[in-house]
Amino acid sequence: MAQAFEPPAMPANAHQVVRAPGAVTGIKQSRLSKATRDRILQIGSPLGLLALWEVIVLAGMVNSRFLPAPTQIIGSFWNLASTGLLYLDLKASLYRILMGFVIGVVPGMVIGLSMGLFPIVRTIFDPVVSATYPIPKLALLPLFMLIFGLGNLEMILVIASGAIYLVLINTAAGVLEISQIYWDVAKDLGASWWDRFTTVALPGALPLIFTGLKLSIGMAVLLIVAAESDGANHGVGFLIWRAYDIYDIKQMYVAFVLLSLMGYVFTVVLNEIERWLVKWRNV
């Protein structure tokens, strides 16, 4: 009589590997989409840091005179805000940052795209860019002060000179990174130089252009503090020096928090614009 088929017994050290949703990515399938979860984490991480800071100060682990707790800083913040000073400082700095950013970024993109697209432009600008890029942008401030006097313009131009290089260099690199095949297709289909500029160079370089924009806005926040140490009578940078003069360290922290908030908001805004413009990257 035929014996029933017996599957061979599994060896003792055998085991099964399960590929299930979440097993490969390490992310548990949940009701939250990946984007929502990332956004919650992005907002949550600074909040967590603040909570930790508060606890450390309250526990007396650090000297609260040099490192006040977040709640103390908030108190100082309300005092400053209620006098209207904070609003003037913030407005003055934002104006300089945004003006400088725009004045730097627009030509930076145009020159960067042209450098990527036209070898002749690259040949002309490459040595100029390489030679002037390492000049600390802050070193230009006294020069601009002499030329334009004390006001906003000299600070705006310092920020613009910081922004222009970062955008220019990243944009040019972004264009050069575009595969030859995409230029060939454009040429084969009869694209003019303007068509190549708008339909190949610009969209192809966009991811790196955004890298440049984000670096530039960070640079702008760095530069504003230093630029406002002299000559400004309002501004977040000026707030720091005013706090120094009156020995009010809490006010200094208000300025630090404002600066980091500014940097954070700028980055979030740029990230959102990027998500919207560079749709094809995150589909």
């Binding site: 095949i181 995409y182 040429k187 289909l189 009869g190 003019s192 094809w280």
Partner: protein
């Protein structure tokens, strides 16, 4: 059986290739890609090119497209209707723009030529359907498979409606089933409009099924080894044509010669 074989001798010449040579000069060395290639492609002809890998097929097509300049020799192309583009190429590698949707990719040539939007959309939709990408109009290439991306590039070239189609192994990245469908579709379209097509392929089968003539290039550097007439009747049917006894004859003849060149190419590469 309908035999609509056009006597190729009596047709006008569309592409005259006269003693083309191409040398690539890099800082270190000079690569001879093509040597003295001469051939006439006739008006409305389906002209296939086969040859071992690296023999200069793509280089020749790029010279025809004006993307590369020959070192010696002359190309004469006849352009009848300047309203239409002279030639459009389907590239061997992935060439759909990642930042454009399927629809935007397919209409790209028309957009550059400033074809009015309504007309553009109509032509685009027609070709998207012909290559079987309906429903994917608003997808980006990053969301498509390799074969689907290649079909985007094919649709883009056809939508551009050139007088001469230059196709560089257009079906090489497609799965077998899609390939057969696309081959049948291309034959069908071509038998309808009789464009001049220069078609590179590494498949002898494909060349015999599709072509009026097949030019074989020698191993690197490419010279013309032989030009074969494919006197199989049209309209052709992919499924039936292999059963034609003449098909097997042609295949054996062409493979006999190509095998030698492929072996030469392998010896050159030190295999």
């Amino acid at each position: 059986m309908v035999t609509s074989l056009i006597n190729s001798e009596k047709r006008q010449v569309s592409i005259q290739v006269k003693n083309i040579s191409k040398r690539f000069k890099t800082r270190k060395n000079i690569t001879e890609a093509l040597t003295n290639v001469s051939v006439d492609v006739k008006e409305g002809e389906f002209f296939c090119i086969v040859g071992p890998s690296g023999c200069g097929k793509t280089t020749l097509l790029r010279i025809l497209a004006g993307l590369e300049e020959q070192t010696d020799g002359e190309i004469i192309l006849s352009w009848h209707n300047p309203e239409r583009p002279l030639s459009t190429m389907v590239f061997q590698e992935q060439s759909a723009y990642p930042w454009l949707t399927v629809e935007q990719n397919v209409e790209y040539g028309l957009r550059l030529r400033k074809v009015p939007k309504s007309m553009r959309r109509q032509i685009t939709q027609e070709w998207i359907e012909k290559v079987g990408l309906q429903g994917f109009e608003h997808h980006y290439p990053g969301q498509l498979s390799g074969g689907m991306k290649q079909r985007v590039a094919i649709a883009r070239a056809f939508a551009n409606d050139p007088e001469i189609l230059l196709m560089d192994e257009p079906f090489a990245n497609l799965d077998e089933q899609t390939k057969i469908l696309m081959q049948q579709e291309l034959i069908h379209i071509w038998e309808g409009n009789r464009k001049t097509v220069v078609f590179i392929t590494h498949s002898i089968d494909e060349a015999i099924m599709m072509g009026d003539r097949i030019m074989m290039l020698t191993a690197h550097p490419g010279r013309v080894k032989q030009v074969f007439d494919i006197d199989l009747p049209r309209p052709r049917n992919i499924a039936e044509i292999r059963a034609n006894p003449h098909f097997a004859e042609l295949f054996t003849g062409i493979w006999g010669l190509l095998k030698i060149e492929v072996e030469n190419a392998r010896i050159q590469n030190g295999h």
